[in-house]
């Protein structure tokens, strides 16, 4: 997401009251609906309705008669599906796993993106355009393709990486139970660090150069300028990339799905999204799958809003 999310500034409200409106009291206002309605119609159809329908389905379940001779009946189940999901060790395990994944991936991502942005923004950097394009390029590689590529680089038979690590005697098992989560984190970092770096660079370029001049006159080194001037001033974009990384990590799906055939360390309910997918298609239980999908949405909302509230309370509002 490009910009810094922000609500409307007071100016827009004031201008609305200020003028323009009373001048044309009889002007038809149907055009407003023509501009606004198409988006909200498709938003309702393909965004709100699916969510509502999934929530609705999550309150039902199919009950088959004892012998399974008659058609199963659809019964209101109350919160049964939610209880089932939240007491299932596999689903809870998958939630724990993505939380652990977020705990690793979010700091790694933010530090990488920030380091790259500061390096490229530093006065010492040369060939900036080349580096910017190389770092940003993986963003254009779809998650599936990225996972396929790294999959080949993780498998000993095809990987020059494994060869090289083995040659110098470093550990080189990327697909074991202890390292697979890090292997997945690496794919996410590779894909999105460059994009997040661009968001930060855009923030850094908005800082007036006089601030650096002043700091240099005061004898500050480049590193001190980075730490005391640049980082505090890109706080808002930092919060933004943190939130979107957080949301992304909780949604983990494609990478483990693609890597799954390469390793026994990934189960069919490795992440919450995989568990819901598995529930819907392998187990054909769309009601439990709906409850799980709803729980995933709630979890990602609560965590991202919680984080935004936390950072907004600590300092000035970033969002």
């Amino acid at each position: 997401m490009a910009g810094v999310l922000q609500r409307e500034t007071p100016k827009a409200g004031a201008e609305a009251v200020g003028h323009a409106r009373p001048r044309h009291p009889r002007r038809s206002r149907s055009h407003v609906a023509v501009f606004v309605a198409p988006f909200f119609v498709v938003f309702a159809l393909f965004f709100l309705a699916p969510i509502g329908y999934a929530v609705y389905q999550s309150f039902f379940k199919l009950t088959s008669s004892g012998l399974g001779l008659t058609e199963p009946t659809l019964d209101f189940a109350g919160l049964d599906n939610y209880t089932a999901a939240l007491t299932s060790p596999a689903f809870l395990g998958s939630i724990g796993r993505v939380l652990l994944f977020s705990l690793i991936e979010v700091p790694v991502m933010v530090v990488c993106a920030l380091t790259l942005a500061l390096l490229l923004d530093s006065a010492r950097a040369r060939f900036r355009a080349f580096f910017r394009v190389s770092f940003f390029l993986p963003y254009g590689v779809p998650g599936v393709i990225a996972s396929l590529l790294w999959g080949f680089l993780y498998v000993p038979q095809t990987s020059p990486l494994v060869d090289a690590l083995a040659l110098v005697g470093l550990p080189h098992d990327f697909l074991g139970p202890g390292t697979i989560l890090l292997a997945i984190a690496n794919i996410s970092t590779w894909q999105f660090a460059g994009y997040n770096m661009l968001v930060l660079i855009a923030g850094l370029q908005a800082i007036p150069q006089e601030l650096y001049e002043a700091a240099r006159v005061d004898g500050a080194t480049e590193i001190r300028i980075a730490w005391h001037v640049k980082i505090p001033l890109v706080r808002a974009p930092l919060v933004l990339i943190t939130v979107f990384t957080l949301i992304g990590t909780l949604q983990l799906f494609v990478e483990p799905l693609v890597l799954k055939p390469l390793t026994t360390a990934i189960s069919s309910d490795y992440t919450p999204n995989l568990a819901a997918y598995n529930q819907a298609f392998a187990q054909s239980n769309i009601h439990l799958a709906s409850a799980e999908a709803t729980l995933i949405a709630i979890m990602s909302f609560v965590i991202s809003f919680g984080f935004l509230r936390l950072v907004n309370r600590k300092g000035k509002r970033a969002w």
Partner: protein, 281 residues
């Protein structure tokens, strides 16, 4: 003038160089691997191709299954292109109206849009599948195209940009000159908003192109697959027939290269878009 090279420069350049190796390695690997036979893929060093056979591989890639791969590429362009174009138009209209016309419920609607920005597409895939199967349009071209025309982020960006970039005085004078609201929008507002609109288009294009969960649950007919789903499916066949390794790798190389070239050529738009988003950040 000979510039003295400082130690700090060496450190910075070494770090940047190492990062470039990291980011480019998989791309270089796949480009090399695309020139190999399946046997060489497993038998030779990853970054060197002793007997390049790119032509053979490309021939097989585009020949398999009556040109299935070419179809997938075209499908991806259709899903992403049409989806992003429609999303951009809808977002432009809604964002512009929300920026420039006060109306009741405006802020409530905008808050709904903001909440939508935080809902990732993976959350929506399964619910969308459920409701689409209820109306019976799963498995069709539309089932992948239609969800792609909604971009809450686009509305958000269009509104922020329109508020900042379109002066009210300009709209007033156009009205005094007798221009209707639609003409003002299509003739003036869309032009001023074009940097933001390009950004919205690109984000949505990449978003739809990269979306895997949605086509995965919606489609069963191979001929409707986007390239991501098709390649993943070939990859899952490799255990059955190792020839699919060649196809998957060459296909991955072609589709990665395709997007990389697109991204590189559109780089200036990206930069403009990134700053446009944070006008008042």
């Amino acid at each position: 003038m000979v510039r003295r090279i400082r130690p700090a420069t060496v450190v910075v350049m070494a770090l940047l160089g190492a990062a470039a190796v990291y980011f480019l390695l998989p791309v270089v690997w796949v480009l090399v691997a695309a020139t190999k036979s399946s046997a060489d893929l497993f038998g030779t060093f990853g970054l060197w191709s002793p007997e390049p056979q790119l032509g053979t591989n490309l021939g097989r890639l585009f020949g398999t299954g009556d040109g299935l791969f070419g179809r997938w590429i075209v499908n991806s362009f259709l899903y992403a292109g049409i989806g992003a174009l429609a999303a951009t138009l809808l977002s432009a209209g809604a964002g512009y109206a929300m920026a420039k016309y006060p109306f009741r419920g405006r802020e409530a609607l905008f808050n709904l849009v903001l909440a939508g920005v935080l809902v990732p597409s993976t959350v929506l895939a399964l619910p969308t599948y459920l409701i689409f199967s209820e109306v019976g349009i799963t498995g069709t071209f539309w089932s992948v195209l239609l969800p792609g025309i909604v971009s809450p982020f686009g509305v958000y960006l269009a509104r922020i940009h329109a508020t900042a970039a379109i002066p009210d005085a300009l709209l007033e004078s156009a009205r005094l000159d007798g221009a209707g609201e639609y003409r003002i929008f299509f003739g003036i507002a869309m032009k001023i908003m074009s940097p933001a609109l390009v950004t919205i288009f690109l984000f949505q294009f990449i978003g739809v192109w990269n979306n895997y969960f949605l086509p995965l649950v919606m489609l069963s007919d191979q001929r409707l697959y986007p390239v991501t789903l098709g390649l993943a499916q070939w990859n899952s066949q490799t255990f059955r027939d190792p020839a699919f390794y060649e196809l998957t790798v060459t296909g991955a190389a072609v589709s990665a290269l395709l997007l990389v070239l697109t991204m590189a050529s559109l780089q200036r738009f990206w930069r403009a878009g990134l700053t446009a988003g944070s006008v008042k950040g």
